[in-house]
């Protein structure tokens, strides 16, 4: 059999770059006796995921500080190493050698367990994301459910951290975190339901496969390019911001009000673990968003398929993460009542209506002919835009643009 060409446009499944990770895996597992190969394969996946996302975390912290700096017209960290590239290393050394302080009144066991539980749960979510055509660490029938179950359990760790610190700010933050996470869990899950409904499966590979194909070879069949998908993606994105405690929903760790909330009594490496878990959670949610709405590892155009699928996945992932940082550099923090009101009076109804839109889209899938297609699009767009405008008007009723009496 001749070796597969590096850029095989005709059959991307056979391209060398596409199969390269598999070849590496087969080589490494081949070093073990056959009875242990399944174990070696799984361990290899775990090690690769942990190492890869830990280094991605290091790079993300740097990228975030650079981007935030540029948004504020300053350079960001640029002293450690060339262009500040060694800053994550310096941060790691600093957090590792810092003294680990545990308050005497704290609940010692829970105080220790909270960061460990948080990081391990955050890492668990990575197990079901399809990183590429052949790169799914664990193929599960109910992968989406698994992902959100792992995500829901992280709330517990946040609560443990806040409660075990025996500090009123931490406890307040824990209460806020619970209220916020419970409130936003609902729109997050509801925004995912239409995808599951239309793809007809809870498996992530199935959902990606449902978004395969192109119209005219250039317009991908991603969910985000349908009316319900666009609305669902926005809902998912906003809820994901809240679920990962990112600005503007970073109330649980509001530095200026709650002195970093549940992190107040943590120092040194445990603090770094919390930080890591936050970035892991953010990355996992972005990866899920890519999988559910942005076509997963599918290339945007047919002729771009020669680029391996995992490259597309990570390009989309980094794009979403960049938008997270962009939003962090733009929006101020919400108040707790605004936060919950936004979830219950705006996101949840919209998500429910979006469910109806998706059902309409599914039922009208058989409509053919330009007139009916146009009608289908118009009705779906109206179903998305109408409630958005009406609910938005209600949400912002009585809120006028701020006038400044004394400032110019």
């Amino acid at each position: 059999m001749p070796p597969a060409p590096i850029f095989a446009t005709l059959d991307p499944d056979r391209a060398f770059l596409e199969r390269a990770p598999l070849l590496v895996r087969d080589f490494v597992t081949g070093l073990f006796p056959p009875s242990l190969q399944w174990l070696a394969g799984n361990l290899l996946a775990v090690v690769v995921i942990v190492l890869f996302f830990a280094s991605l975390f290091a790079l993300l912290t740097l990228a975030e500080r650079k981007i935030l700096g540029r948004i504020q017209n300053r350079p960001g960290p640029n002293r450690t190493g060339p262009a500040g590239l060694l800053q994550p290393l310096a941060d790691a050394v600093k957090t590792l050698v810092k003294e680990d302080i545990v308050p005497r009144a704290a609940d010692q066991v829970l105080h220790f367990l909270a960061p460990v539980v948080l990081v391990s749960l955050a890492l668990m979510a990575f197990a079901v994301l399809p990183y590429g055509r052949h790169l799914v660490p664990v193929e599960l029938d109910a992968a989406v459910l698994y992902f959100f179950a792992a995500g829901a359990a992280t709330e517990l760790a946040v609560f443990m951290a806040g409660w075990a610190s025996r500090n009123k700010y931490s406890l307040l933050a824990a209460m806020r975190a619970l209220a916020q996470l419970i409130s936003y869990e609902l729109p997050l899950l509801l925004s995912v339901v239409p995808v599951v409904m239309l793809a007809g499966t809870l498996s992530t590979t199935g959902i990606v496969a449902a978004q395969a194909g192109w119209t005219y070879g250039v317009i991908p069949h991603w969910h985000v390019l349908t009316p319900w998908g666009a609305a669902g993606f926005l809902l998912f994105f906003v809820s994901a911001l809240a679920e990962s405690n990112r600005s503007p929903f970073d109330l649980p760790e509001a530095e200026s009000e709650l002195i970093a909330g549940h992190l107040t009594e943590y120092s040194g490496f445990k603090y770094a673990l919390f930080f890591m878990a936050e970035y892991f959670g953010m990355t996992a949610l972005c990866g899920m968003g890519v999988t559910l709405f942005l076509g997963g590892w599918q290339a945007p155009c047919a002729f771009l398929e020669f680029i391996p699928s995992y490259a597309w996945f990570f390009a989309k992932l980094l794009l979403l993460l960049g938008v997270f940082m962009w939003i962090r550099g733009t929006l101020p923090r919400l108040r707790i009542d605004q936060l919950t009101r936004f979830a219950w009076k705006f996101l949840v109804p919209l998500a429910l209506i979006n469910l109806g839109t998706a059902a309409f889209w599914q039922l009208s899938a058989g409509w053919s002919g330009p007139a009916l297609q146009l009608a289908r699009w118009l009705v779906a767009l109206a179903l998305v835009a109408g409630p958005f405008t009406l609910l938005g008007r209600r949400l912002s009723a009585g809120v006028a643009p701020r006038t400044y009496r004394y400032a110019a």
Binding site: R70, N73, R74, T330, F388, G392
Partner: protein, 203 residues
């Protein structure tokens, strides 16, 4: 419509993000150790002692160890020991001088009260701000030699203020000389005064 403000805000930050790469007017950061900042004339932080002659700073300190600043200093960061002997000052008059003059800059709060109360214009505010050191006890306790800076240096950092001070000092010196000359003339005119004139305060 809801969300339009968010989009506007995102546009602003995106413009910043892109603009800071190609628009030098946006990019406001000065890389400090390589580019020294242009401080405004009135910027000030820690005190120094003015010496009239930069070549011999210890001999020409304006300070006469009157200890007013030591008493007035709110955080009490100034320590002065008077000298046992006297030296002639710029006007030729014999004065005490500080045998020890130390300021603990780790305690100093840059309030400038020492400058306000000094009757001799001997202590002024400096512009040096990069005083970081690895020895936080002795490295920040500045002694007489480290504190003394020449009058030229004073002119270079606060030109307007230094000129005023020089003019005032010159006028005072002239007034003192004239008074001394008048007193000498009076002494010559009146051969036997009942008592010597009371000593003039120097300022």
């Amino acid at each position: 419509m809801l969300g339009s403000g968010i989009i506007k805000g995102l546009a602003v930050t995106a413009k910043n993000l892109a603009g800071s790469f190609h628009d030098p007017a946006r990019y406001v950061t000065q890389e400090f150790p390589e580019v020294q900042p242009q401080l405004p004339e009135n910027s000030r932080n820690f005190p120094f002692l003015v010496a009239d002659d930069g070549a011999d700073p210890m001999g020409t300190l304006r300070c006469v160890a009157c200890q007013i600043c030591e008493k007035e200093c709110p955080p009490q960061c100034i320590y002065i020991e008077k000298s046992k002997d006297k030296k002639p000052d710029a006007a030729g008059k014999l004065q005490l001088y500080p045998a020890v003059f130390a300021i603990d800059t780790s305690v100093c709060m840059s309030c400038q009260i020492c400058v306000e109360v000094c009757p001799f214009d001997a202590i002024k505010m400096d512009q040096v701000f990069a005083i970081a050191t690895t020895d936080r006890f002795n490295g920040l306790l500045l002694n007489r030699e480290q504190l003394a800076k020449s009058n030229q240096y004073y002119h270079s950092i606060h030109p307007t203020e230094a000129t005023e001070v020089d003019a005032r000092l010159a006028a005072e010196r002239k007034a003192a000389e004239e008074k001394a000359r008048a007193a000498a003339a009076a002494k010559a005119a009146a051969p036997k005064p009942a008592a010597p004139p009371p000593p003039q305060p120097p300022a």
